[in-house]
């Protein structure tokens, strides 16, 4: 019982394509070696921003509720939806508030700006440092494996269907090399006019 970020396990990944983004996660929730659930998704939607949260599960749940509250109040106050870039800065400032007693999470944000149509992805460390990327971002207990898969599989300007195949293979093969991730996977493919959510058929071990 030591490293909070690898007690429960889990992985997330996001990629940029041609006028689209994709974000995926595994479905495992464990207590070290014991798998407790195969139905623990780690991606949450706030207006047109998608948040992927890995790490300590209690912080994943708490943060998803905190952001739901903050975004709801934003909608009521501003009378408009929050954009992915703005939401990413909200995540960053929320995490930094806990600089000396942090949430043990590795968040990533993905979405398409409703005004400009530009795809946006970024990742953060547990205290909110924004890692803005033009290609892909990774997080979780199989982040090293995800880096390897993404670096070799990703290419620019993939169409939505091709982006889906690429991100799915990156996620599947990375989580299969990680004891603490897996037990199912979900991939969202986001374009300007629609979002397609697919459940992947994976090894259940």
């Amino acid at each position: 019982m030591s490293d909070p970020s690898s007690i429960n396990g889990g992985s997330v990944v996001a990629m940029v394509g041609k006028d689209c983004v994709a974000i995926g996660c595994d479905m495992r929730l464990g207590m070290q070696a014991l798998t407790v659930s195969n139905d623990f998704p780690k991606i949450f939607q706030f207006n047109n921003a998608f948040l992927g949260l890995t790490g300590l599960a209690t912080d994943v749940i708490t943060l998803s509720e905190v952001f739901r509250y903050k975004v709801n109040l934003y909608n009521l106050r501003e009378e408009r939806k929050i954009e992915p870039e703005t939401f990413a800065n909200l995540v960053s400032s929320t995490l930094y508030e806990k600089r000396f007693g942090p949430y043990f999470v590795g968040p990533i944000v993905a979405g398409i700006n409703s005004k400009s149509g530009d795809p946006y992805i970024c990742g953060f460390d547990l205290i909110g440092c924004i890692n803005f990327a033009k290609d892909f971002v990774v997080g979780g207990t199989s982040s090293d494996q995800l880096f390897g898969m993404c670096e070799s599989l990703w290419e620019p300007n993939l169409e939505p269907d091709d982006l889906f195949e690429t991100i799915s293979q990156a996620l599947l093969n990375a989580q299969d090399r990680d004891a603490l991730s897996g037990w199912g996977a979900i991939v969202y493919v986001i374009t300007k006019d629609k979002v397609v959510k697919r459940l992947l058929k994976t090894r259940q071990d």
Partner: protein
């Protein structure tokens, strides 16, 4: 000392009025006229820089202030109260917005924040209401150009064109006749100067009148080039020369 004034000094009269706020309105109505006009492509804020003596260095005092690069504010009433509100608005636009979302607040959100500050001074212990009415002009991507008035009570209204202070009633009548939906910024500046002329007592030139404009982004004022997706500030003050040029054209 503090416990003697921990109750609100603004209390209801039997007729249901808050007399302190009524008196604050009096302070505003004795103040120098200010006006704001919303055009299709900008907002104009204008005021007279009334000096009690020719020895006053008028150029060192600024009655129209910017709060964010895209939002400016002018007042009628007590100058010191305006200064305090400007400082609070500038600070709050950072602490309550930019340091959370990394973007400047939209005009309405900023206005609501200032309005809340002014309302709190009508329901707190040991303080008096602010003796100013404010005209806030700004731009944001979702709502375009907007003009708001904030009163000592904390009420705020959006306006197409309005005036506050001493000559506000006649100025508003004047503006009602002149304002149209498709006014352009230059027309609005022209109308603002004409309206001010009605209430200005002394000489009217670039040094006795202040004009602030929220218009097209001034990328040359950024201080650097070559960065995409960054726009320059929309708020700028007209120089005395620019004002004189327009006064000549009247």
């Amino acid at each position: 000392m503090a416990d003697r004034y921990s109750f609100s000094l603004t209390t209801f009269s039997p007729s249901g009025k808050l007399v302190q706020i009524e008196y604050a309105f009096q302070a505003v109505n004795q103040g120098v006229t200010s006006l704001g006009i919303k055009a299709s492509n900008g907002v104009v804020l204008a005021t007279e820089k009334k000096s009690t003596s020719d020895l006053i260095d008028a150029s060192s005092l600024s009655k129209i202030s910017n709060i964010t690069p895209d939002i400016g504010m002018v007042y009628s009433g007590m100058g010191p109260d305006f200064r305090v509100l400007v400082d609070k608005a500038r600070k709050s636009s950072h602490t309550n917005y930019k340091r959370i979302y990394n973007e400047y607040p939209p005009t309405r959100i900023l206005v609501q924040d200032v309005a809340r500050t002014m309302q709190e001074a009508t329901q707190s212990g040991g303080v008096r209401p602010y003796g100013v009415s404010l005209l806030v002009g700004g731009y944001d991507a979702d709502n375009g150009f907007s003009l708001y008035q904030v009163d000592p009570s904390g009420t705020y209204f959006p306006w197409k064109a309005t005036a506050i202070g001493k000559g506000s009633t006649s100025a508003k009548t004047f503006l009602e006749k002149r304002w149209t939906e498709d006014l352009e910024l230059e027309d609005a500046i022209h109308i603002a100067l004409l309206t001010l002329k009605e209430s200005v007592e002394g000489e009217m030139n670039g040094n006795t009148v202040e004009i602030g404009v929220i218009g097209p982004a001034s990328d040359h004022l950024l201080g650097f080039e070559g960065v995409k997706n960054i726009q320059g500030p929309r708020f700028r003050k007209l120089s005395p020369q620019e004002i004189d040029d327009r006064l000549d054209a009247i």
